[in-house]
Amino acid sequence: MADNHDDEQHNIQFEGTSSGASTTFPMQCSALRKNGHVVIKGRPCKIVDMSTSKTGKHGHAKVHLVAIDIFTGKKLEDLSPSTHNMDVPNIKRVEYTLINIDDGFMNLLDADSNQKDDVKVPEGELGQKLEAEFDDGKDLLVTVIAAMGEEAAISYKESPKTD
């Protein structure tokens, strides 16, 4: 898994400027879902594994979470009593049309033709493939995920042909 230090430095957090809707909400640990999201060590994460354990045979359940930071791909873990509340990030996923790639940043257009230029090309193999396909002249749709003031492209596909 690539460690994206650069990415972290480039992403400036705009917590103060959010529209007022809170970036997270609380949920009892036991009610979290696998494939759902959770905040661990201040980072928004996707839960990839969830199991319960106990402290001692007659202790109360604890939830062991394994999750990956949705922006850096870094694996994070957490162990909390199952009755405790944890923060769940509000996640937004938007699909954009890719217009151009400019110095590692993508020029994107949303469904209402608003331009957006502040999302980086993803790191690693995904980003390389994306650039290559874009250079081949393919029309690409990029999915950008946003949570807790950060954004990143997580997947892309060729836009469906309209005859």
């Binding site: 898994m1 690539a2 909400f25 009892q28 640990c29 036991s30 009610a31 979290l32 879902r33 696998k34 494939n35 759902g36 990839v48 594994d49 319960t52 354990s53 106990k54 402290t55 001692g56 045979k57 007659h58 202790g59 109360h60 359940a61 394994v66 990956i68 791909g73 694996k75 009593p81 199952s82 009755t83 769940v88 509000n90 996640i91 937004k92 996923r93 699909e95 993803p122 690693g124 193999e125 995904l126 493939k129 994306l130 999915t143 997580i154 997947s155 892309y156 596909k157 060729e158 469906p160």
Partner: protein
């Protein structure tokens, strides 16, 4: 290279091989040297002139290699001289380091084995005679004789110790059998003589140090004897598939059945007593002790043809019992803290194994005839109790000693059952009397063991209760299930005393807990409370096992002896009823308001155990119907029976439902407890009287509302199963009216929650909000719960309700095109609908509509995901990677497994057929499957299962597929043939068989070009299948499927078959001598007799029966495999 130069080179290389910087180069020099031609004289020169052990070692292994490689170039006399030279070399060099000496012995053995089959008996005897001679001279020579004998035994054995010499399986097999017949027993006898001398010596000077280095002859002879006793005898071992070589690791000890010819040496009181006498004398040496224990275990387990008659058997058992009595006294009089830990435990385990071996192979009649039986069994009973006491003393040894206890427990239960069977089977009066006597004895023993077991479990709490170790996910009643079943069997021999003990302990611990709970106010609890919880947990578990068996699928009955006890007791004194009341008072005390301080100090494990107990108890006791018993105890009828019989079962059920609800809230964050409570709910649903009473109860409607209202705060893992349980209970309501009423209740509850979100006009703007998503996902899971509860009875009702939402579900996949978590839930829901809908109780229109929705679901899913690139490293981090792919796989597979739909839709010309959906799905799926996904066993198995099923179900559609797709499918099958997951190979052979059969039949009424696309693939399969059969590792379990596959392929591709075999054989590693060619050709001719005959092939359509593996065909096929694999498989 002259000899001195060679010596210098090898000396240098051996020295350089010690240093990391020069190692690689030096090793290459050594390998090149050993592979060069005609090196035997050079090696002899090295042996004679070097004192460096590693040079000597390489010289010896060089000789072995050369002989194996160039055997044909040597004269027999040269070979014998070489052998003699090597033996003398060892004699002349008594101070050789052990690994060099061993390499030389191995060289002698390999040379002997290599020439074995061509040698005359006299020539075969050369090494044996040398050994006999060595064993009859001085100590040094005896040592060499024993070591050489051991090398011979290893080299000729089939246990994976033989060197790889590039020869056929047949060769290894024949040499082993010949050696076994001619020399093995004689070597055993000669070694026994040495052991006897050594033992005499040991006893003549008491108190001497006994260790392998001080007593090399003793140690070597013991090791050799043990090796021989582990021999896999050709006459008595399981038949192996030709060409199967044992793995090196395949070395576990097992009970060997010895041939009758070994009678004089094994059924021999002197031999037996020699080992028993030896055992205590060699305790200072771990290795010798271990080997002697293994020998004794084999001697204790002697059975079968080795005994001439019953009297001999009885005599032998009696000898073993006497020997064991001394050992048992020895170990039972000593406590683990006095003795050396490891030895103590290992001895205990070995002795229990000896006892089990002794008692498990003989009939009750034989055992009854042994005069010492009661003395012996009495000692075994003491040992059993002793074993339990010791296991609670030292935590590290506890599990091992419990293992030893298990051996004894299994033996007791077997003896009890055998005696009971001997009595009930109308045997001779004498035998019945003997068995009754024995049973009487077991009666008195059983309670002693049960009582000690209960005490030990409570004692062990001090090790287990506070330990903070990672749980393996299994509950104690699963981990110790076998042990508990046996304990229950013994307990039921004397139920009164067992129940008395359980009740006393329960009463005491419950009182102590109640008194603690009534005083605690801060949620903390001292350690003693944890011990009480651990005690209660074990008492509940043991009670559960004693009270009832875990019957699945049949009516659980109250154990006979418990029913009898209950009949003899007054209601107020009834032990069964009082213990249950105790447990219910415990349940009452620990069912608390979740916010109270007391609740925080409660044990979820105890709650879990109680609900586990109730699951068993409800199955067996609640509303137990007297019709199932000759005479059911009136107490039980009165306490737990139906109101119509004056029973109070309903009030118990009401109590349980109330407690269940409290515990559901109390443990809402503990999935384990919730899952167990749902299991209890399922039990309510499975038993008609319980279910009907529950449905009539006023508590039920609020219970349903309660579950649905609280679903969102409950753990995800229980969502589906909770709705499933409730739906199942409702589905079997006694009248349609009640049924409709409740289903209306539950469906309305789901609909109001789900439809409100779904039809919200602002959905598109807020579908990503966490609240909306959570409602959508919970809603989908409730539908999934309904799908899981589908049966033939409720299918129309549930279908009608769900189908109103089918298109909405598909729409959700479109809306949530970037949310795999939602898509997976929808796919799962559809998959469970496919799996559980009873299609035959729907109309063709309904089925067709369902298929239309499936098509549209697959298309929508494909639009959302096809060509989407994600970072694969993320995917791999998941617990279940590629879950979307695996759920589509599962969906299509389930669809293929539905039966009868095609016939149903046969008369509806416009209906959408399942095959249409499947092929559309395959088109979408195949491009999504990437090679790295198939490295994940679960995905790989699912994928091959799907492809095989597809090929089997629709072979005719294959020819219509686009070339790319067909090639892709066929490539998956080629990949599956020699896959290391057995199931994958199995499925692959089945699929190829179906395809070949289809091709065979299609050629009857289609022109040749019709099959043009399939033919190259079939030829390839024919080749791959034969390669597998002739040259590669083959699992016995694949023989049948592979056999049918061969028959089908040969019928389909007769043209390709002929030339193929010659081509394959030409590529064999074994040089094909004329003799071998004859054997192979005979084998193939013999195989042809299994093929369907020419009056069928090409004349009419073949059915699977025509190529099925009948016993006759299997025999032909196995003989064929023996014929070819014996000479083509090489080690």
């Amino acid at each position: 290279m002259d000899y001195p130069t060679a010596l210098a080179t090898i000396e240098k290389a051996c020295a350089e091989a010690q240093h990391p910087t020069t190692r690689l180069q030096a090793e290459k020099v050594l390998i090149d040297f050993k592979q060069s031609a005609n090196i035997v004289p050079v090696c002899q020169y090295l042996l004679a002139n070097s004192n460096t052990p590693s040079v000597q070692f390489h010289a010896a292994s060089g000789i072995t290699g050369a002989i194996v490689r160039e055997y044909g170039l040597y004269q027999k006399q040269d070979i014998h001289n070489l052998q003699r030279y090597l033996i003398n070399y060892n004699l002349e060099h008594p101070r050789l380091v052990p690994w060099v000496a061993k390499q030389i012995y191995q060289a002698i053995a390999v040379i002997s084995k290599r020439g074995w089959l061509e040698a005359s008996e006299a020539e075969q005897d050369v090494v044996y005679n040398d050994i006999r001679h060595l064993l009859s001279t001085n100590d040094q020579q005896k040592k060499i004789g024993l070591a050489l004998a051991h090398a011979m035994v290893d080299e000729f054995s089939s246990r994976g110790k033989a060197s790889s010499v590039g020869l056929t399986w047949d060769f290894h097999y024949k040499t082993k059998n010949s050696f076994e017949e001619r020399h093995l027993r004689l070597l055993f006898e000669a070694t026994l003589t040495i052991l006897h001398e050594q033992l005499r010596d040991l006893m003549s000077i008491p108190g001497q140090e006994v260790s392998g280095s001080q007593k090399p002859l003793l140690s070597l002879s013991i090791i050799l004897l043990e090796s021989i006793l582990q021999w896999d005898f050709a006459t008595t071992s399981q038949p192996v598939l030709a060409g199967t070589f044992a793995d090196d690791e395949d070395d576990f000890s097992r009970t060997i059945v010895y041939p009758a010819s070994w009678r004089p040496v094994l059924v021999n009181a002197d031999v037996l007593s020699m080992f028993f006498t030896l055992f205590p004398l060699i305790q200072d040496d771990n290795i010798m002790t271990h080997r002697v224990r293994q020998c004794l275990i084999q001697l204790c387990g002697l059975h079968g043809a080795i005994f001439e008659n019953e009297a001999a058997t009885v005599h032998h058992i009696s000898g073993v019992m006497n020997g064991l009595l001394a050992l048992i006294n020895n170990v039972a009089s000593c406590s683990s803290d006095e003795c050396l830990q490891a030895d103590y435990t290992e001895n205990m385990i070995a002795i229990t194994e000896m006892i089990r071996q002794l008692l498990s192979f003989h009939s009750i009649q034989t055992i009854c005839a042994v005069p010492e039986k009661f003395d012996f069994l009495n000692q075994v009973a003491l040992l059993t109790v002793h074993c339990l006491s010791e296991s609670s003393k030292v935590p590290e040894e506890s599990e091992s000693l419990m293992g030893a206890f298990d051996e004894l427990l299994v033996t007791w239960v077997k003896l009890v059952q055998d005696s009971q069977a001997a009595i009930s089977d109308h045997n001779s009066p004498a035998l019945v009397a003997d068995a009754t006597n024995l049973l009487q004895f077991f009666h008195s023993v059983s309670y002693r063991i049960v009582e000690k077991y209960i005490d030990t479990r409570l004692e062990l709490a001090k090790f287990n209760a506070l330990v903070d170790e990672e749980s393996d996910g299994f509950q104690d009643w699963e981990t110790y299930g076998d042990q508990l079943i046996s304990i229950a069997a013994l307990a039921r021999l004397d139920p009164h005393n067992t129940l008395l003990r359980l009740q006393g302990l329960l009463h005491d611990r419950i009182e102590r807990l109640q008194s603690f709970l009534s005083t605690t106010h801060d949620g903390n609890h001292p350690d003693y409370v944890v011990y009480i919880y651990e005690h209660l947990h074990w008492l509940i578990v043991i009670t559960g096992y004693v009270f009832a068996d875990n019957n699945i699928g049949e009516t659980a009955l109250i154990p006979e002896t418990l029913n009898e006890v209950s009949k003899t007791q007054a209601l107020a004194q009834d032990q069964l009823i009082n213990i249950f009341s105790n447990l219910m008072s415990l349940l009452d005390s620990v069912s608390l308001d979740s916010h109270s301080a007391q609740a925080i100090s409660c044990s979820p494990q105890v709650a879990l155990s109680l609900f586990w107990f109730l699951e068993r108890w409800v199955k067996t006791y609640l509303f137990a119907s007297p019709e199932n018993y000759a005479a059911l105890s009136p107490n039980l009828v009165q306490a737990y029976g139906d109101a119509s019989q004056g029973g109070k079962g309903s009030s118990i059920l009401e109590f349980l439902v109330a407690k269940l609800r409290i515990n559901f809230i109390m443990w809402n964050a503990d999935p384990d407890v919730l899952i167990q409570i749902i299991a209890l709910l399922n039990t309510f649903g499975q038993r008609a009287p319980v279910r009907n009473t529950l449905l009539q109860s006023e508590q039920f409607p609020p219970l349903v509302g309660f579950f649905i209202d609280h679903l969102s705060i409950l753990p995800e893992v229980i969502h589906n199963s909770l709705i499933q349980s409730i739906t199942a209970i409702i589905s079997y309501a006694p009248t349609e009216q009640v049924n409709g009423h409740y289903f209306g209740l539950i469906s309305a509850a789901i609909e109001t929650r789900f439809a409100a979100v779904l039809h919200d006009k602002d959905l598109m703007t807020k579908y990503q909000s966490s609240e909306v998503m959570s409602q959508i996902m919970n809603g989908l899971e409730m539908f999934n719960g309904l799908a899981l509860a589908l049966t033939d009875i409720n299918t129309p009702m549930i279908y009608t309700f769900c189908s109103r939402f089918f298109e909405s579900f598909v729409n959700l996949v479109r809306i949530y095109s970037n949310f795999p978590e939602v898509q997976i839930l929808v796919l799962n829901l559809y998959t469970d609908l496919i799996k559980h809908l009873e299609f035959t109780s729907l109309t063709p229109e309904q089925v067709s509509y369902f298929h239309t929705c499936l098509l549209s679901l697959l298309q929508t899913f494909s639009n959302a995901n096809l060509g989407k690139k994600r970072a694969s490293s993320w995917e791999e981090a998941e617990d279940e990677p590629y879950s979307d792919v695996s759920v589509v796989l599962e969906m299509l597979l389930s669809l293929l497994e539905v039966l009868g739909v095609d016939q149903m839709l046969a008369h509806s010309p416009n209906a959408v057929l399942p095959s249409t959906v499947v092929f559309s799905g395959i088109n979408i799926l195949i491009p999504m499957i990437k090679e790295n996904m198939l490295k994940i066993p679960r995905l790989c198995t699912l994928y091959v299962r799907l492809i095989s099923k597809l090929v089997e179900s629709y072979p005719g559609r294959l020819v219509e597929l686009p070339g790319d797709l067909l090639n892709n499918l066929m490539a998956s099958l080629k990949f599956g043939i020699d896959h290391n997951i057995l199931e994958v190979s199995h499925l692959t052979f089945q699929a190829i068989t179906a395809m070949a059969l289809y091709a065979c039949n299609a050629s009857l009424h289609h022109p040749a070009e019709y099959l043009a696309g399939l033919r190259p693939h079939l030829d390839e399969f024919l080749k791959l299948t034969f390669e597998q059969l002739l040259f590669k590792k083959l699992d016995m379990e694949l023989v049948d499927v592979a056999g049918s596959c061969v028959l089908a392929l040969v019928c389909a591709r007769q043209e390709a078959y002929g030339g193929l075999i010659e081509q394959l054989l030409a590529a064999s590693e074994t040089p094909l001598t004329p003799e071998l060619q004859q054997r192979l050709s005979d084998s193939f001719q013999h195989l042809a007799t299994a093929f369907p005959t020419s009056d069928i092939v090409g004349q009419r359509a073949l059915t699977p029966r025509d190529i099925a593996m009948t016993p006759a065909r299997r025999e032909i096929f196995l003989r064929f495999l023996m014929g070819v694999r014996g000479v083509l498989r090489v080690k």
